[in-house]
C-alpha cells in the first residue's frame, strides 16, 4: 500500500468516525427533545384534567344556584323552606 493510499484511507476512516459521532450526537439531542416534549405533553394533559374538573365544578347545578342567589336572581321555584315541615 502506497503512502497516499494509506493517507486517503485514514482520512476516510476519520470522516466516517466524525460522521458517526455527529449522527449519534444528533440522535441523542433529538431523543432528549422528544423526552422533553413527552414530559410537556404529560404536564399539559394533567393541566387539562384539572381545568376540566374546575369547569365541571362551576357547572354544577348547586354552584350555579348559589351564584344566581348571590346575584339576586331567582332560580327554580322551590316552595320549601328548610326546617319548616308544616309549611306546605
Amino acid at each position: 500500500m502506497t503512502m497516499p493510499r494509506m493517507v486517503g484511507l485514514l482520512v476516510c476512516l476519520a470522516v466516517v468516525g466524525i460522521a458517526v459521532v455527529a449522527i449519534r450526537v444528533d440522535q441523542t439531542r433529538a431523543s432528549w427533545r422528544i423526552q422533553q416534549m413527552q414530559f410537556a405533553e404529560t404536564q399539559l394533559r394533567r393541566e387539562i384534567w384539572t381545568q376540566e374538573m374546575e369547569l365541571a365544578r362551576l357547572r354544577a347545578p348547586g354552584m350555579v344556584r348559589d351564584r344566581a342567589a348571590r346575584l339576586g336572581l331567582e332560580v327554580g321555584n322551590s316552595s320549601w323552606q328548610a326546617g319548616s315541615p308544616g309549611r306546605r
Binding site: 431523543s31 384534567w49 357547572r59 354544577a60 348547586g62 354552584m63 344556584r65 316552595s79 315541615p85 306546605r88
Partner: protein, 586 residues
C-alpha cells in the same frame, strides 16, 4: 552454554505461562460473552435503567347534558426519606407553615418512621401546597402525583356513581358496572439513571403512551338530581326520618333521570360511613308498599271487566270481617264507587275487588307489571323483591295483596310498573347508561334504545286509571299536596307500616310514607316516586303529608326545566277580571 539453554527454557516457560494465562482469559471472555451475556445484560439494565409507569386517566362519568359527575385529576402526596431530611425540627416547622399540619406531628413522623426510608407526610394536598413544598427544595422531601377520582359536584348522585378503591377499580355503582370501559391502561418509559438513581435520559423507543379510559354518559340529569337530593334531604331532616329515597323516570323511554337516597355519602371517602348507607336502597331493598300498590290490582279488576269506575261498592262502614280477620278503613265509608276506592284509598274496597279477582288473576297481573323479578336496570345489586309463588298464596293473600301487603317490591320495580300505567300500558326496562364515548368524544357504544318488555296493561284501562289517579291528587288523599298550577298530576299516596326485620308483625309508630306520581297527566313526561322511612310520627307520617310535597317540589321544578307543555285546563276568568287566560297561564 548450559546457562544459556536454561535461560531460553525459562523464557519459553514464562512465555508459555503468559500465553496460557491469556488463553484462559480469552476462554473466560468467550464463556462470559456466550453464556453469561443475557444474565449480565439484565443485571446491567437493572442497575442502570428503571421502568417508570405513566398512569392514564380513568374515564369520566357524565350526565345526559355532558356535565361531569365523576372525573379524574392529579392528587398530590408529600413524602419524605427521614434519613436524608437534614434537620427534622426545622423542616417540620417549614412544612407546618405550608401544609397546616402541626410541626410536632411531622417531626414525630420523621423521628419514628413506619418505614426507614419512606414516610408519607400528607395525602391529597392542594396543588398550591405541593408547589410550596417543591419550592422549599429540601433534600429527602418529595411530591408524588397520582391521578385520583374527583367529584366536581360533590356528593351528587353518590349512590348511582358508586366509588373506586385504592387501586382505582370500581367497587360500586356505575364505577363498578362500567369499570371495563372507564379504566385506563397505564403507559411506561425506561430511563437510565446515574449512580445516585437520578434519571438521566430515556431509553430509545421505550416510551409507551398511557391510554385514557372511556367516558360513560348517563341518562341522569344533574339539575333534576340536584333538585331531588335537596328536596329529599330537607324532608328527611324536617321529619326526623330514618331515611328517604326518590326516583325520577321518563315513562316514555324508561330513562332514569334522578335517583337519590338520603342520607347520602361522600364517594371520595366512602369508608367514613356505614356500609348500609352506601347501598343503593332504591335497587336493593324491597319494601312492603302499602296503598301505593292499589292501582296495580285495581287495573287488573278493570281489565277483567270485574268492575267499572262508577260501580258502587259497599265499604261496610269502615270495618269488614273476613273469617277471623277484620279489615279497617281510615274513614267509615258506607259505600264508594270503584274509582273512589282508589281516590280515598279504601282497604275494604280493594279487598272486595281482590276477592272478585281471585289469587291467580292477581298474581298474573303482578307478573305482567314485572313484580317478582329484576327490572334489568344496568346497575349492580338489583333485588327482585318478594312475590310468593302462586302455590303459596292463601285466602288472606287475596285480601292483603290488593292493599300492598304480603309482598315486597323494590322502589325501582314500583316506579317501572307505574310508568306502564302512565305510558299507555307498555312495560319499559329502566335504563341509566346512555352511551360510551372514547376520549375524542366519539360514540363507541350507544345504549339509548328503549327496551320494551311488552304490554302490561290494555291502553284503554291505562287511560281510565290515569283519570282516576288524577282525581287522587285533585280531590282524594293527595289533594292540596301535589297540585301544580300548570300541570295535572296523577298520583297515589301510601302509608305502610314497617315490619320488624327479625320477627312477625309491625314496629309500633314506624311508617313508610310514600307517594308515586306522573305529570303532565295528559301525556306524562316524568314519573316520580318518593318514600320516607320512619318519619317522626308526632310530626306526621301519611304519604300525602310527608312524601307528596317532595314529589310536588320535584315536579314543579323539573317540568319547566324539560319544557313540558302545560295541561291543566284554563280557569274561567272571574267576572270583571281582565286577565288573558291561555293554556293555564295568566
Amino acid at each position: 552454554m548450559k546457562d544459556f539453554n536454561q535461560r531460553v527454557w525459562v523464557g519459553q516457560a514464562l512465555i508459555g505461562v503468559v500465553f496460557l494465562a491469556l488463553l484462559s482469559q480469552v476462554v473466560r471472555l468467550a464463556y462470559i460473552q456466550q453464556s453469561l451475556r443475557p444474565e449480565l445484560l439484565e443485571y446491567s439494565r437493572r442497575r442502570q435503567c428503571s421502568k417508570v409507569t405513566l398512569p392514564g386517566r380513568r374515564g369520566a362519568i357524565l350526565d345526559r347534558r355532558y356535565r361531569v359527575l365523576a372525573g379524574s385529576h392529579d392528587h398530590f402526596h408529600i413524602y419524605a426519606d427521614p434519613q436524608l431530611v437534614p434537620n427534622h425540627a426545622e423542616v417540620a416547622v417549614k412544612l407546618e407553615a405550608i401544609l397546616g399540619i402541626p410541626a410536632a406531628e411531622i417531626q414525630e413522623v420523621f423521628d419514628h418512621p413506619t418505614s426507614p426510608r419512606y414516610v408519607m407526610i400528607a395525602r391529597g394536598v392542594s396543588s398550591n401546597e405541593a408547589e410550596g413544598v417543591e419550592l422549599l427544595d429540601i433534600r429527602g422531601l418529595g411530591v408524588r402525583r397520582e391521578p385520583g377520582r374527583t367529584h366536581p359536584m360533590g356528593t351528587l348522585g353518590a349512590h348511582v356513581l358508586g366509588f373506586v378503591g385504592a387501586d382505582s377499580r370500581g367497587l360500586e355503582g356505575v364505577e363498578r358496572v362500567m369499570d371495563r370501559y372507564l379504566k385506563a391502561t397505564p403507559g411506561e418509559r425506561v430511563v437510565y439513571r446515574d449512580v445516585r438513581r437520578r434519571a438521566m435520559f430515556q431509553a430509545a423507543d421505550s416510551y409507551v403512551a398511557p391510554r385514557d379510559g372511556m367516558h360513560v354518559v348517563l341518562t341522569l340529569d344533574a339539575a333534576i338530581q340536584e333538585t331531588v337530593e335537596r328536596e329529599l334531604q330537607h324532608r328527611v331532616e324536617a321529619y326526623e326520618a330514618e331515611s328517604g329515597i326518590a326516583l325520577v323516570m321518563s315513562p316514555r323511554t324508561g330513562e332514569v333521570l334522578a335517583m337519590a337516597c338520603a342520607p347520602t355519602f361522600d364517594p371520595v371517602a366512602p369508608g367514613k360511613v356505614r356500609a348500609e348507607l352506601r347501598r343503593n336502597r332504591i335497587l336493593t331493598d324491597p319494601v312492603e308498599p302499602g296503598s301505593i300498590f292499589k292501582p296495580f290490582v285495581f287495573s287488573a279488576a278493570l281489565a277483567h271487566g270485574l268492575t267499572r269506575p262508577d260501580e258502587v261498592i259497599d265499604c261496610e262502614r269502615g270495618m269488614y270481617k273476613v273469617g277471623r280477620r277484620i279489615l279497617h278503613d281510615h274513614h267509615a265509608n258506607v259505600a264508594l264507587t270503584a274509582e273512589q276506592v282508589i281516590i280515598k284509598s279504601s282497604n275494604i274496597g280493594m279487598a272486595k275487588l281482590g276477592e272478585r279477582l281471585g289469587n291467580p288473576r292477581i298474581h298474573e297481573a303482578l307478573l305482567r307489571f314485572g313484580f317478582g323479578r329484576v327490572t334489568g336496570i344496568d346497575l349492580p345489586g338489583e333485588g327482585d323483591g318478594l312475590l310468593m309463588p302462586l302455590s303459596r298464596w292463601r285466602d288472606y293473600t287475596t285480601l292483603s295483596v290488593p292493599m300492598g301487603q304480603e309482598l315486597a317490591v323494590t322502589p325501582t320495580q314500583l316506579l317501572t310498573a307505574f310508568c306502564a300505567i302512565a305510558n299507555g300500558g307498555r312495560l319499559l326496562q329502566p335504563r341509566i347508561i346512555s352511551k360510551v364515548l372514547n376520549i375524542e368524544g366519539e360514540v363507541i357504544e350507544d345504549r339509548d334504545e328503549v327496551v320494551d318488555h311488552g304490554q302490561a296493561l290494555d291502553p284503554g284501562v291505562a287511560a281510565t286509571l290515569r283519570e282516576i289517579l288524577v282525581k287522587v291528587v285533585e280531590e282524594g288523599t293527595g289533594k292540596g299536596r301535589c297540585q301544580l298550577d300548570k300541570w295535572l298530576v296523577m298520583g297515589k299516596t301510601g302509608t305502610a307500616q314497617v315490619p320488624w326485620t327479625n320477627r312477625r308483625g309491625y314496629e309500633p309508630h314506624a311508617y313508610l310514607a310514600s307517594f308515586i306520581a306522573a305529570a303532565p297527566a295528559s301525556d306524562p313526561r316524568l314519573a316520580v316516586l318518593v318514600m320516607i322511612r320512619k318519619p317522626n310520627y308526632r310530626k306526621g307520617y301519611y304519604g300525602g303529608v310527608v312524601a307528596a310535597p317532595v314529589a310536588k317540589a320535584i315536579l314543579e321544578q323539573a317540568l319547566p326545566y324539560i319544557n313540558a307543555p302545560a295541561d291543566r285546563p284554563a280557569k274561567k276568568p272571574v267576572e270583571g277580571q281582565q286577565w288573558l287566560v291561555w293554556n293555564g297561564q295568566r
